[in-house]
Symmetry: C2
Subunit: 489 residues, 2 copies
């Protein structure tokens, strides 16, 4: 893959050319970047709606449809929406070619426009997941989270240790993979995609249930653990040894950030509310909240955590204020606009070509993948057993809720391939594991929850009726439905 770097680097310096040249280059590429972004958004929205609607009709989670639709428009199938990863220069992007033929895009501006519009769409998708976690935080109950904190932590730790040990040991023993790649693959088994699980929980209105809150809490812990593990294995993969200092730094900063931001946030949130009440201009609540969320996201990013942790913390803090309800209503349209970008882009970036058994070099990977998938499910489902002192809790639901690896798992695979420690087949196996856990968990999560539902006073029929209703009322009314939930705060 290294041969790719040259053209890329060769084109980076072209960013700083003399003034007049820049002016013209901008004058030319500026509107084309916008055109490319608009076109990408139309594709993203079309894909998310088509996929979501189909899944909604066959009673699968809409978010699964968005992921699959992303795969269809992405690098795996249609090449409509592809990204510069792997040195892709846009010459295979149908969107760019369409842009070229419709908007007379010149070859000079082509790479710049492709780079820029990919950058914009990627960033929008990242802002999308930030808004999603902010919304999840707003709908979560900090007190409840703290109450289930111990269970969540235990679930997270069990859900990290079990798959890591089973995966690493299994690969070394059964497939005699060398230690470092085995550890790397084992690490890739540990991460949970909080975004996907949270979205499904929201879709089936179980976010504020005790199970939901334990899953969210555990997923957040898991995210932090995942970042630390990634740092460890990355340095291990890079130079065979672990940079202890870096690891300690990550652990401390994560702890300080999560505790500190919520502690400080609770102190200043009343001031924010006063501020908002004294503002006279439009959007005072929303923009103040976004400033708060983006600031925490920024801090989380620069201390090498993930932006979504900051957004989630901000949501949690604001959920405790009198503004929670209004804010929740105003965030809904923004989430509707930005969150689908995240899921479609995750799908679009996933190359499912490795799933094709007809390609001989995929086979070894698929066999290892089969093993990893078993470990991935078992290793997370057992976490439900770790929950203590919660009589009658749906342990299976908690376990299944931790299964999807999603974008986090893909990051492991990407880092692994770039550091060159993973064999092609092992990398493929990890990707397959990520794809299947991500795509199978949402429907499973629905099943295990609805099983429980039919047991309770709430009959599936009613559940369906509500889902039906949800689809017909304007999103701004969804909140009332959520509120109407017995277990809602």
């Amino acid at each position: 893959m290294t041969w790719v770097t040259d053209p890329v680097l060769a084109f980076i310096p072209s960013f700083s050319f003399p003034a007049p040249l820049l002016a013209t280059a901008e004058a030319e590429s500026g509107p084309l970047v916008l055109a490319g972004v608009l076109l990408s958004l139309v594709i993203v929205y079309l894909a998310s709606k088509v996929g979501g609607e189909i899944c909604a009709r066959i009673d699968l989670p809409p978010v699964l449809g968005e992921l699959v639709a992303g795969v269809v428009v992405g690098v795996s199938v249609m090449h409509l929406l592809i990204f510069p990863e792997g040195g892709e220069d846009g010459s295979h992007s149908l969107l760019m070619l369409f842009l070229q033929s419709t908007a007379n895009l010149s070859p000079v501006a082509f790479p710049q426009v492709f780079q820029a519009q990919s950058e914009v769409i990627s960033t929008l998708s990242e802002i999308g997941v930030i808004i999603l976690l902010f919304e999840i935080g707003l709908e979560s109950d900090l007190k409840e989270l703290l109450r289930v904190g111990m269970q969540a932590t235990l679930v997270a730790v069990v859900g990290v240790v079990t798959p890591f040990v089973l995966g690493t040991a299994g690969l070394m023993v059964i497939f005699d993979v060398p230690a470092v790649p085995a550890i790397f693959a084992g690490a890739a088994l540990t991460a949970t995609s909080i975004g996907i699980t949270a979205k499904v929980l929201a879709e089936i209105q179980r976010l504020s249930s005790k199970e939901g809150q334990i899953i969210i809490g555990a997923a957040v812990m898991d995210d932090v653990l995942g970042i630390i593990i990634l740092a460890v294995v990355a340095s291990l993969a890079r130079d065979g040894k672990v940079e202890v200092g870096n690891v300690i730094y990550l652990i401390v900063s994560a702890a300080v950030f999560l505790i500190g931001s919520i502690w400080v946030g609770r102190l200043i949130s009343p001031l924010l509310v006063d501020l908002i009440n004294n503002m006279k201009t439009r959007g005072q609540l929303l923009l103040t909240a976004l400033m708060f969320a983006f600031t925490l996201s920024y801090i989380a990013t620069v201390i090498q955590l993930e932006a979504i942790l900051g957004a989630f913390a901000a949501g949690l803090i604001l959920a405790e204020t009198e503004k929670q309800r209004d804010l929740e209503e105003q965030v809904i349209p923004i989430a509707d606009m930005l969150v689908p970008i995240f899921f479609v882009v995750v799908g679009a970036r996933t190359d499912v070509g490795v799933l094709n058994p007809l390609v001989p070099e995929n086979r070894e990977g698929l066999i290892m993948a089969a093993f990893l998938i078993v470990v991935a499910f078992v290793g997370k489902v057992v976490t439900g057993l770790a929950v203590f002192g919660q009589p009658g809790i749906n342990r299976l639901a908690i376990g299944v809720g931790m299964v999807p690896r999603g974008e986090v798992g893909l990051v492991f695979a990407a880092v692994g391939s770039s550091s060159g420690v993973l064999s092609k087949s092992l990398e493929a196996a990890i990707i397959v594991m990520v794809i299947l856990t991500t795509f199978l968990a949402p429907p499973l999560l629905r099943v295990v929850f609805s099983r429980e539902l039919s047991g309770t006073s709430e009959a599936p029929a009613l559940q369906d009726a509500r889902t039906e209703a949800v689809s017909l009322v304007p999103p701004s009314d969804l909140v009332e439905l959520e509120q109407a939930e017995p277990e809602a705060k």
Copy 2:
């Protein structure tokens, strides 16, 4: 300030890990671009709210505050938010330096991150004005617009011809400027910034008044005329002659697009509504509407018109459907989130240094500017007189409504400077003219409308009371207030 970078850069590399270059470039710059964007958005929102709130308190239009706050954080004063124009490589961007010191950004990634985050913020600001015009379209009444179509067209034409002739002739006669630059400057006098006028009209709840609709209609016409004139003078500046073919193409495509999109749109809008009613997933109304708006914006862009024309047309069409009300409510938070980015960025990109009379080389420009400003105001205010068959209409308000040149005028200046046809002083004069018309028109517009108000049944006290109320209710209720307006549809 440049010396600052060196020590910082010298100390950075200790962080950046050796690994395949592409991997580092992406793995490193990815989260940093996000961090830069988040930080930029916090600055933008902070600026827009501080500026807006101050103006709201001294009874000036909040949008003026957003523009001024943009100037403060932008290239003129604080250098927090600056863009790669004029070959700026980011080494003067306080934001980038802050990013460098907080998020250990390496020198390799620096230009790429600066370029990428500027690209993202510019695109977000363009999407912001697209959403603004979509919202304006939603709040406009197509039938009313068609009813005042003749007046609007007349206003637009008068408002283009008068300042063009006065400006060009005056510069040639009084300042004996050569023909081509004089024509260029004259052309820069013709454009009206629909965004700024529309925002002010919305702020003072006069969007759906007859005057408001004439101004909007005329501003749209004016926008189209402006694009055509820019094409003419640009080709004139480039090679001394006019590409007639290109001009005809623009005129025809503009006419076909505006008429065609509305005609076709009205045919398909019932299908869209049926589609929306049959969708079961969250955000069905909003995403379908955005797909429609972005598609028209894309078409407008690729036929070399402006994206905002497409968004406005889409809003107009959807305003006629049963969904208008719900959609308007859902667009408000999105507008609150994205529109301020546009106004702050417009301010941030404006270099008001040319206003400083202490700099000798500014003086000649300032004298010409004084002349251009007079022409700019007179040339547009007279357009009110062109309105016929509307007894008792506020002609002054219509004239003043056409005054702000805003971003459109800046585009002329930018093209002029890049094509090198304008002398430094004349370019400065145009920029000064744009700044003052843009910054003075909003308060003037309020005055001329409120004069009228105090005459009508609606006492200023009530007006103030409502403005007060508007500030206290959540934005989603603003719509009701708008609806409650006597002249609202």
